[in-house]
Amino acid sequence: MIEATGLTKHYGRTVAVDDLSFSVEAGRVTGFLGPNGAGKSTTMRMILGLDNPTRGRVTVDGKDYRSLHKPLHVVGALLDAKWVHPNRSARAHLQWMARSNDIPDKRVDEVLDLVGLTQVAKRRAGGFSLGMSQRLGIAGALLGDPKVLMFDEPVNGLDPEGILWIRQFMHRLADDGRTVFVSSHLLSEMAQTAQDLIVIGRGKLISQTSTEQFIKDATEDTVRVRSPQLERLRELLDGRARVADAAAADGALVVHGVEPSFIGELAAANGITLHELSPQLGSLEEAFMQLTKESVEYHAADADQATDARPIGSHESAG
């Protein structure tokens, strides 16, 4: 379990993290969400004792990271896949890390196998693709078989195959009962990976809830209906729900505030044929941008290009 209380970090005049308090529950995947520059990486570095907080405190299993003995057995972390000497072989890199925490050499081969790098273990890490570097970093995080795992933007810059692999790997880790704390600036990515969300912007906590609750609160669900008897349906819905015409050529209604089943039953009871009845999940990205709009560090000149509600599942292609 990771617990932060009043965590604050100043770099000169810049406030990177501002009075941040949160807790990461054991045995769950918790997403750490925020726009670029929100202070996610700084927070993670403070968790690992790499940066010293200006104020406040963060503990892992109730202890300061810097007081942990052989910490690789407690927390495994991948903050930057490029923290490897480019002329050192993947195996040598893992070997020195293992040795520092009295982890047997046998385990190095195990984790190499686990992430599928056995074939290239003797090659210099500098020649690795980003995906391979990312795997090497994960292998390093797993060396001590820790209960807590931390990843900073693990899918950033990966191809779809790499993203899928990381996503599935994280689910496997969580299924093992491990605590996974993973940061991202993409809500759509987190929606598929994390059970809980900690959302920050400009170093401040915006919300800490379950992912489900966050999406429910942040988005409004609508239903899209198409029918040859659209006008009749509109009359029937009048007063029961808020109705808007969808894009003109479409010949569809967008209904707010009622369940799809309600519309279906209403149509059946009145003998109306339906050609389409589809629930729309409000755009996650839109909701996220709404929430963090105030706290994005650098605005583009016109960042307000709100996107329309998209059908369920369409956000899977994002990221």
Binding site: P71, V84, H85, R88, W96, R99
Partner: protein, 253 residues
């Protein structure tokens, strides 16, 4: 002990330390060989075999600085501190490994130079290591390399950048220490206390009278005895190294 193994793996699993060691040995022994082969007219003194040790010293100091700065350059220092968060023990382990290795390279380069001089010099009647001073001239190189490496580790950990650390070390040793002598009135007095100048007195100072032909030889400046000179040089190295430990412990990694 395990941390020593860690630092050993780190040092020897990259190429630059190997190149530095080879270069240190090659430069020192190679140039000495040229000197020895051309030493005519008089018997070659023991000091003549170690004139060039400073070349190797600079190279070995670059190696020691690199051992720290590359960790910062590639971010492995963060992995190191993540694995051993007290920070001090891995830095000490690194110092032990690098200092020991540098001492060994120093010994190898000095005895290699001396051995090759013995073979190449026309007259090696004065080259035998007969007195304690003779031994200090040659074996002392190992100590100077070791202390120099410690100094370079400290500078490297303070500066964190390869280019910065290497320039500071080389510019200080090669330029500042000689230029300082040109300051009017006080220049000579300051120069007498410059660390590398003092270190060379440890190697070259108090030769046995017979070893120096016609009073010639490298300068041995300084107020201290040869061993006092070494203590001074090693002391400065240790102070800078300890300061670097304190800074590393406090600073954000």
């Amino acid at each position: 002990m395990t941390l020593l193994a860690v630092e050993r793996i780190k040092l020897f699993s990259t190429r630059s330390p190997w190149w530095c060691m080879l270069l240190a040995l090659g430069l020192t022994i190679g140039v000495t060989a040229i000197i020895a082969a051309n030493w005519d007219n008089a018997p070659m003194p023991v000091l003549g075999a170690v004139f060039t040790h400073t070349f190797g010293l600079y190279v070995i100091m670059v190696m020691a600085a690199l051992a720290v700065t590359t960790e910062y350059r590639f971010g492995t220092i963060k992995s190191t501190f993540q694995a051993v968060p007290d920070r001090i023990s891995p830095m000490i382990a690194k110092a032990v490994v690098v200092v020991l290795l540098s001492g060994l390279v120093g010994l190898a380069s000095a005895f290699g130079s001396w051995g090759l001089s013995w073979v190449l010099a026309d007259d090696n009647s004065e080259l035998a290591l007969t007195t304690a001073n003779d031994w200090r001239h040659v074996a002392g190189v190992g100590l100077v390399f070791a202390a120099g490496a410690l100094l370079a580790l400290g500078v490297g950990a303070l500066v964190r950048q390869t280019a910065g650390a290497v320039s500071i070390i080389l510019v200080f040793a090669l330029v500042v220490e000689s230029v300082v002598g040109f300051i009017p009135n006080i220049g000579d007095d300051i120069q007498k206390w410059m660390p590398f100048t003092v270190a060379s007195k440890f190697i070259f100072g108090d030769p046995d009278p017979s070893a120096i032909p016609e009073g010639a030889g490298p300068p041995a400046i300084g107020e201290l005895s040869p061993w006092g000179s070494f203590a001074y040089f090693a002391g400065i190295a240790l102070v800078i190294y300890v300061i670097s430990l304190v800074v590393v412990k406090r600073r954000d990694a």
